[in-house]
Amino acid sequence: MSDEHHDTHHVNYLTIFFVLCGCTALSVAFDLVDMPKAVTMVLVLAVACAKAMCVMMFFMHLKFEGNWKYVLLAPTTILAIGLPIALFPDIGSSYYINMAPQVGEWADEVAEYRDSRVEGEHTEGH
């Protein structure tokens, strides 16, 4: 039964492990390299997905499981992706005028403060 499965499909877990480590290093590298925000975002998320796939496929043995895995994981995945998408039009953006003070006045005020600090550091530095 299940135990037999494992024996027939031997996985070299160490390889997977190194792949995962490499991916993590890659994410950190992406953070350090200077790139447009959006590119970093896409890259690190892609890496995260790749890592997740590795973990699920090999560590969690999904690669060797029966078809039930699709029955279980397909709906979950759809819901998990669908929920943020459905929330986006109302929360991620707003159809109406969002009066969050952080967006207007406060942002300006703090930006001013920021600028003054940066200037201050410059003058101090010189």
Binding site: S94, Y95, Y96, I97, N98, M99, A100
Partner: protein, 326 residues
């Protein structure tokens, strides 16, 4: 004796008693004895006596099984009858729709009502009929041994599917008219006439200083009033709906307007009062203990009256200002 038999007998006697009372005894007593006036259900709600009669006759005429079958026919009848007499008894819309959107909404309501009423009658009476058929079946009749019929099932999936798609299609335009910002009528493109700021438990109205435009933040010279909004009748008006604290909802039943006020958002809404006069404004989103008493009114009048009102308001407010500085 069996309890169900007892129940049937009880219902027979009850309905007969009621019918006799409503049809014979009551009216008789009331007409003969001048100083007695027995309360009659039929006086309160039209048609009661006929139902009592139908019940009485049919309960006597039926065995227990038939009675149950009839039972499932009675009640949709009563329900339908209640709906039919409702408008006459003022259990219907508070008034004709008194706005552009109101007419559209009511139109859609009646459209759905017709579809739904037909479905209701069809399904409920089919159900009752199935019961009736079984109640009158002979002892040796065979049961219909069937696991279903694909053809039938396809029919009764496709037909409602068309109806439902039709119903939703019919809504889209109206939704767009009411809610989609760039489909707002031309008359309101010039901007909102006032800001309605809901708070526990009142509506604060802010008009721009006459001659200026409404800003999202209060400006000096803005005019304030509580629980009364003056708008020009017959033309579409736009207001900015906001809340200072929790969520509220702006509901004007006679205009069929409703929109929640959401903390942190400015939501523009438009409506038009077809007739001059007073319109109730209520809150329909639970906002605390005083939710039920967020009572206000919208006064629709001629544009001159509105501007007179605003001038008056301005005068009042300035007077107060002077008084303050003293």
């Amino acid at each position: 004796m069996n309890l169900s038999t007892l129940l049937i007998w009880f219902l027979r006697l009850l309905s007969t008693g009621l019918a006799l009372y409503e049809l014979v005894v009551g009216p008789l007593v009331n007409s003969v004895l001048a100083d007695v006036s027995l309360p009659l259900l039929s006086d309160q709600v039209a048609g009661t006596k006929w139902f009592a009669l139908i019940f009485a006759v049919t309960t006597w005429a039926s065995s227990e099984k038939r009675f149950w079958a009839l039972f499932f026919w009675y009640w949709p009848l009563v329900a339908l009858w209640a709906c039919v007499i409702a408008p006459g008894n003022n259990w219907w819309f508070p008034s004709e729709p008194l706005s552009r959107a109101g007419h559209q909404i009511d139109g859609l309501f009646y459209m759905i009502l017709i579809i739904v009423a037909v479905t209701f009658i069809g399904t409920e009476f089919a159900l009752g009929y199935a019961l009736w058929k079984s109640a009158v079946r002979g002892k040796d009749d065979k049961v219909w041994f069937s696991h279903g019929s694909h053809r039938l099932e396809i029919v009764w999936t496709i037909v409602p599917a068309f109806i439902l798609v039709f119903i939703s299609m019919a809504q889209l335009d109206v939704v767009a008219d009411i809610r989609v910002l760039n489909r707002f009528p031309d008359e309101v493109q010039s901007g909102p006439v006032a800001e309605v700021m809901a708070r526990q438990f009142e509506w604060r109205i802010r008009y721009p200083k006459p001659g200026t435009e409404l800003m999202t933040t209060p400006q000096p010279g803005d005019l304030y009033y509580v629980n009364e909004l003056h708008i020009a009748a017959t033309v579409p008006t736009m207001v900015n709906l906001r809340t200072q604290d929790v969520q509220h909802s702006f509901f004007v039943p006679r205009m069929r307007v409703k929109q929640d006020a959401v903390p942190g958002l400015i939501i523009p809404i438009w409506f038009d009062a077809e007739k001059a006069g007073e319109y109730e404004l209520l809150c329909t989103e639970l906002c605390g203990w005083g939710h039920y008493k967020m009572k206000a009114r919208i006064i629709a009048e001629t544009p001159q009256q509105v501007s007179e009102y605003l001038t008056g308001l301005q005068a009042d407010q300035e007077e107060d200002g002077v008084a303050d500085e003293e």
